[in-house]
């Protein structure tokens, strides 16, 4: 009897548990999944919570609801992986032997990386929206905020869902317009990149929207410090930006368990083969989702595409066959642009987002890189799809794991 252990029951771990419980013979291989939490959080919902578009109950459900029968769910913190001995060590002292390990522990914010970020003003006038707690306290703040300088800020790349801070700015613009106080709010978008987004064509489309919505952009800003007393952020070059309300995306890192286990890079991401999703160091360890260091976007949609390929590779690994080198970095994201509209972008390791139609070439109904109401409906539908289709590991009809090139205007 073999044992396959999945670390983390978030988006990617849950999908793998569902895929593998269909594919593996329970008589031959037992599947365990471990998470320290009891709730599954729909993180894309953190974008909508601050603006009172979603309620907390829309985005939190019990992990157990999504773990299939026949998979053992263990609720404890993972202390360490001893990869030489094939052991997972838990905080409660238990040890678990594995034959195959899937790491799906995700990424989280590390505000302590920047001097002063987690200072006196943290969750008073300095907020994150990458955690449930951050998004909720920010909602309460926004409900009573009377206006001033709103600074939306990214600390450093890579971050989960790299478009989320832009979407936040767009939604803030709509939110204050609806509250009839847009004239009292100055919105500035501050990024360490040289443009609004990481890919040039999408940047051009997004720049246009930023201008239209009167959102100022500060590029190439590498934050050194948050000055709590004078309410400003200061970069290494000496540039200063004042704020009344700072909404920042702190440094994102993999779980510290990787550091304790000697499995991570300097940001605690696990070095991973970007085509097969096997760990670069250990053949019986595979990595999926935000926890890996592959140069793909850290997004739920990416984890979904990875899960199809990783499932195939786990089956091949068990049979002793060569792994499929197929993952191409495919990502597919709706970008909420405010006022009930959204853009859709589709890209991979080699192709940047372009215009076109999705998923049917020439037809759509979704439009790539163009604002539309249909895309916004798509974004909202994503929540339903997430809970009811994605987590269960069901293939989404017409959307393939690797990117399709037809219907796109390269």
């Amino acid at each position: 009897m073999k044992r396959l252990v999945i670390l983390g029951a978030g988006t990617a771990g849950t999908m793998m548990a569902n895929h593998l419980s269909h594919e593996l013979d329970k008589e031959e291989c037992e599947i365990d999944i471990i998470d320290e939490r009891e709730e599954h959080y729909y993180q894309p919902g953190y974008l909508f919570l601050p603006f009172d578009i979603y309620e907390p109950e829309d985005i939190v459900k019990s992990i157990r609801e999504f773990i299939p029968k026949g998979v053992r769910l263990l609720n404890d913190k993972i202390e360490k992986v001893d990869a030489e001995k094939n052991l997972v060590l838990m905080e409660n002292g238990d040890r678990l032997h594995y034959d195959i390990l899937i790491i799906a522990t995700g990424a989280k914010i590390a505000p302590e990386e920047v001097e002063g970020m987690k200072g006196d003003e943290w969750h008073r006038s300095v907020f994150d929206f990458y955690t449930f707690e951050g998004a909720l306290t920010l909602r309460n703040k926004l409900r009573e905020w009377e206006g001033g300088k709103l600074v939306v800020h990214i600390t450093e790349m890579p971050i989960k869902c790299p478009v989320a801070p832009l979407e936040f700015s767009f939604l803030a613009d709509s939110y204050f317009k609806n509250k009839k106080m847009r004239d009292k709010v100055e919105i500035t978008y501050v990024t360490p990149l040289s443009g609004a987004f990481t890919k040039p064509k999408a940047t051009a489309a997004l720049d246009h929207l930023l201008q239209e919505k009167n959102i100022k952009v500060e590029t190439d800003f590498a934050i050194a410090e948050v000055d709590n007393e004078n309410k400003k952020i200061i970069d290494y070059g000496g540039k200063e930006i004042e704020f009344d309300l700072l909404v920042t995306v702190p440094t994102n890192k993999g779980d510290e368990l990787m550091e304790r286990s000697g499995l991570g890079d300097e940001l605690n991401y696990v070095p991973t083969n970007k085509a097969t999703l096997q760990s670069q160091k250990y053949q019986n360890i595979f990595v999926i989702g935000d926890a890996s260091n592959i140069p793909a976007s850290k997004a739920g949609s990416v984890a979904h595409f990875e899960a199809e390929i990783l499932t195939e590779n786990i089956l091949r690994y068990i049979k002793g066959e060569p792994l499929k080198e197929e993952f191409d970095g495919h990502a597919n994201c709706f970008v909420e642009t405010g006022n009930g509209k959204a853009l859709l972008i589709d890209f991979n390791y080699t192709h940047e987002p372009v215009e076109g139609e999705f998923p049917f070439p020439g037809v759509g109904p979704l439009r790539l890189l163009k604002e539309s109401r249909m895309n916004h409906m798509g974004k909202l539908a994503f929540r339903w799809i997430y809970w009811n289709v994605l987590l269960k590991g069901t293939h989404i009809p017409f959307v393939s794991a690797t990117m399709q090139e037809s219907g796109k205007h390269f």
């Binding site: 450093e156 790349m157 360490p192 990149l193 190439d220």
Partner: protein
């Protein structure tokens, strides 16, 4: 795309980053530095050599990593290559713009 540097055609992308590292040499580095208005000191060269070594080892570069390298701290890195140090330094070093930004 090609660009003439020191009388030789050099392969570059639209943003002016060299796309063929084997064409790089110190003189070309000096020229690229001039274009970026940076007079190169021996400190600059230490940093450039370090990032080229990392590139050859296929280690992805980031400002954070350079700051922790022991070669230079982030503050000095900014004073050597103001505004966008990693982008400027990699351009002079003849290597692609780091893809740490996705």
């Amino acid at each position: 795309m090609e660009k003439i540097i020191m009388g030789k055609p050099i392969e570059v992308n639209e943003e002016g980053y060299m796309t063929n590292f084997s064409q790089w040499n110190k003189e070309i580095g000096e020229e690229l530095a001039k274009e970026a208005h940076i007079p190169l000191s021996s400190r600059h060269w230490q940093v450039i050599n370090y990032i080229q070594d990392e590139y050859k080892k296929e280690v992805p570069l980031s400002i954070r990593k350079i700051g922790k390298s022991g070669v230079v701290d982030i503050k000095e890195f900014y004073s050597l290559f103001p505004n966008a140090p990693l982008k400027t330094a990699t351009k002079i070093a003849g290597i692609p713009k780091p893809a740490s930004c996705i």
